[in-house]
């Protein structure tokens, strides 16, 4: 079988240079099969698909800039006196870690730039992962068969925050030291093992001399390795599933419509990497991020007002601020059986984040259970066409934002000249009321948009042209949509509530009844897509002439 080419079957000779290279590689390592599979693979195109790309590219930039920084950074907490070129800190006692961070900023050429690139891309990384997950949630892309990839995405979100926080602490400046102090306080509030974890993490009492070295190892080895592993799994599953596509003419769950990978899609996606890099470079060049030299070395005594964590930790910090320590005269911190239950720290630190991530990880299964929808979905939902899901998402988003805003309660108070206490009281109220309002408002907006779509599909779009009819009546001319645009507005599913069904034993159990209730809650408010019969009826109403004249107008305006 592996006989060499005989004279009667001459070896393949490629005609082009590219062909010869392809042939060279293929004859030695194979792989033309892979190229055949991927070279022209079709990718749907939409601006909202870019967020995931931004996340991937900012991670690549993080690896590049981070590698540079490791060559100069020394994670030691040994004491030293600063001898670098930044005058105001000359001869100040500090840790070697802080001193080497200052050296990167001031004495390594391009070091400050690299630090800024690294920090900005870290912020962008977490942001793009978050926005990407919002996109996936609101368009229903997490549905079968992509539930596992959604979970991988959730893990990536947590890992990106872990990477950010471990890195944030490394320079050992005053700001990050206070961040660690808060983490220590939160850890100590954990019942039974809290003090042990704190002592193990810090190698004794806070701050000790071990923590920076340990975080460094996590930051440059363990966490990035896990992120890389998750990214590989994530992309592998994207290939297996192929990308989702937005609804529209010609698109259904059985096909994928878009541009071939080579050359258009690859060029756009590849070019986009450089654009992301360019934008990060611009930010790094012009907007100072984390000016550690202004903060000074870590010292447990001073702290500056208006301190903020990096944005992604904000929601936890905000929750910590919102929790009252004393309600009336009742202390939230309780002593039971001679031990301290620090509920004023424990609850805000763990419960909101716990709820958010539990719902995030289980949501695909929750929705599937309620809707009993076990089909594969490759066509996305427009958010308005899944009003209840969109409303749930917005409720969660608003809840998160309230906590996030609370992390800046002091800045809100000073910027808008309002009382700090009032800001906190309002945000405490919004913590409970905000998600409810968001749910109701979002659902109404989604339904209203659906109605609007229906109206446009049936009666055409408003042209703004007013016509006076012979008998004196004024009408606005509506231009009908072409069938492609109309299909985009009507081509969706609008499931109705699914009543409780008996199980195999012919019994409707209580779980099934609960499911039916939730299904009603999920689907009872619905706007069905317009049907051809309705369109015919709408035309029969006498709008026909107007539509005809609208069409004429449209042609003329070209």
């Amino acid at each position: 079988m592996s006989a060499t080419a005989t004279p009667d079957a001459p070896a393949f000779v490629a005609k082009t240079k590219g062909g010869r290279i392809t042939n060279f590689v293929d004859e030695r390592v194979g792989g033309s099969g892979i190229l055949r599979e991927f070279g022209r693979k079709v990718f749907p195109d939409h601006w909202s698909f870019m967020f995931g790309e931004v996340a991937l590219y900012s991670f690549v930039i993080l690896l590049l800039s981070g590698t540079f920084l490791t060559f100069f950074f020394d994670p030691s907490m040994a004491e030293t006196r600063y001898a670098g070129s930044y005058m105001p800190l000359k001869n100040v006692e500090m840790s070697v870690a802080y001193s080497s961070s200052l050296n990167i900023s001031f004495d390594v050429r391009g070091g400050l730039f690299m630090r800024q690139v690294h920090h900005w891309s870290a912020l962008l990384f977490v942001a793009s992962v978050s926005v990407h997950m919002l996109r996936v949630f609101f368009t229903g892309a997490f549905r079968k068969p992509r539930e596992m990839n959604w979970v991988v995405g959730g893990v990536l979100l947590i890992l990106s925050m872990a990477a950010g926080f471990t890195g944030y602490s490394l320079p050992d400046d005053l700001l990050s030291g206070n961040g660690l102090r808060i983490i220590d306080g939160v850890i100590k509030s954990i019942p039974v093992i809290g003090t042990y974890i704190s002592f193990f993490l810090f190698g004794g009492e806070f701050p000790g001399t071990a923590i920076i070295g340990r975080l460094y190892m996590l930051h440059i080895l363990l966490v990035p390795a896990l992120i890389l592993l998750m990214i590989v799994m994530h992309l592998f599953m994207v290939v297996v599933h192929k990308h989702t596509q937005y609804p529209g003419p010609g698109r259904n769950d059985g096909n994928v419509v878009g541009y071939p990978l080579g050359p258009v899609y690859a060029a756009k996606a590849g070019g986009f990497f450089f654009i992301v890099f360019g934008v990060i470079a611009l930010m790094a060049g012009f907007f100072t991020i984390n000016p550690i030299w202004n903060y000074g070395p870590y010292d447990p005594s001073p702290v500056s007002a208006g301190t903020q964590p990096d944005w992604y930790i904000g929601f936890v910090d905000g929750a910590l601020r919102l929790m009252p320590g004393i309600i009336g005269d009742w202390k939230v911190e309780q002593i039971w059986f001679g031990h301290v239950f620090t509920f004023n720290v424990l609850l805000p630190a763990l419960v909101p984040a716990g709820i958010i991530f539990t719902v995030l990880f289980t949501y695909p299964w929750i929705e599937r259970w309620i809707t009993k929808d076990t089909r594969e979905h490759h066509v996305l939902d427009r958010p308005r066409n899944a009003p209840t899901r969109t409303a749930i998402g917005m409720a969660g988003f608003v809840w998160y934002c309230v906590m996030w805003a609370a992390a800046g309660s002091d800045l809100i108070a000073t910027h808008f000249h309002v009382s700090l206490n009032d800001v906190t009281y309002w945000l405490r109220a919004l913590f409970f009321v905000g998600p409810v309002i968001a749910f109701v408002v979002t659902k109404r907006i989604a339904l209203a948009l659906q109605r609007k779509d229906r109206e446009i599909a049936l009666h055409g779009r408003e042209t703004g042209r007013i016509v006076r009819l012979p008998h004196g009546e004024f009408i606005e001319v509506h231009a009908p949509l072409d069938e492609y645009k109309r299909y985009k507005l009507v081509g969706f599913e609008s499931p109705s509530p699914l009543p409780a069904e008996p199980n195999a034993n012919g019994v409707v159990d209580s779980k099934e009844k609960r499911r039916a209730k939730l299904s009603r809650w999920f689907f009872e408010d619905r706007v069905a897509p317009a049907t051809p019969a309705e369109l015919a009826a709408a035309h029969g109403h006498g709008d026909h002439e107007a539509i005809e004249s609208g069409e004429t107008q449209k042609t003329l305006s070209h």
């Binding site: 220590d184 419509v257 060049g285 447990p300 009252p324 202390k331 499931p495 049907t531």
Partner: protein, 356 residues
């Protein structure tokens, strides 16, 4: 196909949309007709786009040059001012931005204007075939059957037990990450050493404070005498021992029984470490006699022995009992009577032991 979930719309298994399929729906008109771009029809426009792409690539070269010039022409020496560093940083940023954006926008423009933009449709294939799945299920069943694990519970249970215990050493080896917590958290440097009371000294220079220096309305950031001379664990001690010293009109202080002589002439000292999660409570509002933690806004009222009046803290700041020594300097008469800083599991036990 017999495959119930391959995603094709006509063969889907469970349909959640009761009643939906009975209604006539709009027919999918298919992919909209392709519209030609200017560059597809007008050779001039195509040529223009080509030049634009080349120009963008050219701007990338300029960016690279800017970067190199900024890197080599601006040298950082010992006397570099921060303005020079900022200038270099900005130029490196501009250079990189041009270099990258030139390539990126050039490629994207090339793709959008000149590469074929025909949308194509490709069939999705089932992730797996029914046949494969049946085979896989059979193989798994066979494997489980051949191990006999179901028929031999003794083997299964001992294996489970062994596997459950095996990770314990892996956990145990982390046991030396830190010392076991003892009562060090309950003690600070303020405890008198060899019968000698510790003086209150200024943070950070460590000079002692005379009671006469503390005027009404003033506040001092205080560290214990001898802290700056420590060689080991200075920050650990400082993290527990920092104190705020304030002087109020003695009438506005309302010391509870047992605390009457913890202050001196209206001078009182309180731990600066927040009882919430340990930030320094560094803001003193002179007019209201409130102490405010800048991290989470816990507010403590000095006139009520630093009781929490707002925010997430639950406990008052611990008070340091102070007096004046024979030379007129402020001294701590004892350590804090309770552990300072954030709460922890054993805190109440430590407090009871201290006061026993």
């Amino acid at each position: 196909m017999g495959n119930h979930s391959d995603g094709s719309p006509n063969h889907s298994g469970t349909v959640a949309t009761a009643g939906q399929n009975e209604v006539e729906k709009f027919q999918d008109p298919g992919i909209p007709p392709h519209r030609l771009r200017l560059a597809d029809t007008d050779p001039k426009a195509a040529k223009r786009a080509e030049r634009q792409v080349a120009l963008l690539f050219g701007s990338s070269v300029v960016g690279t040059l800017i970067f190199l010039v900024a890197y080599f022409a601006i040298d950082l020496g010992d006397d570099t001012s921060i303005a020079t560093i900022r200038l270099q940083n900005a130029l490196l940023g501009i250079g990189t931005a041009f270099a990258m954006l030139g390539i990126g926008t050039g490629i994207v423009h090339w793709a959008k204007a000149l590469m074929p933009d025909h949308e194509v449709s490709e069939e999705r294939h089932a992730i797996r075939t029914e046949e494969d799945r049946l085979a896989a299920v059979r193989i798994v069943d066979d494997i489980v059957e051949e191990t006999g694990i179901k028929r031999r519970p003794l083997i299964r249970n001992t294996l489970l037990g062994a596997v459950a215990l095996a990770p314990l050493p892996a956990l145990a080896v982390f046991g030396d990450l830190g010392p076991r917590p003892d009562n060090t958290l309950a003690h600070t440097m303020w405890a008198p050493q060899d019968g000698k009371l510790k003086r209150l000294t200024r943070d950070p220079d460590g000079t002692p404070i005379k009671a006469a220096d503390v005027t009404i309305g003033s506040a001092f950031h205080v560290i214990p005498e001898g802290l700056n001379e420590l060689h080991e664990g200075k920050l650990n001690e400082k993290a527990k021992a920092v104190v705020l010293l304030m002087r109020l009109n003695p009438e506005s202080l309302n010391p509870s029984p047992g605390r009457e002589n913890w202050g001196y002439n209206g001078i009182v000292a309180y731990s600066k470490i927040c009882t919430h999660v340990g930030c320094p409570v560094a803001l003193y509002e002179q007019q209201t006699h409130h102490l405010l933690c800048p991290c989470h806004q816990s507010t403590f009222d000095l006139t009520q022995e630093c009781k929490v009046i707002f925010g997430p803290a639950s406990r008052p700041l611990p008070q340091l009992p102070i007096a004046v020594d024979s030379e007129g300097y402020l001294v701590a008469t004892s350590d804090f009577k309770e552990p300072v800083g954030p709460s922890y599991w054993e805190r109440d036990e430590h407090e009871r032991n201290r006061n026993a």
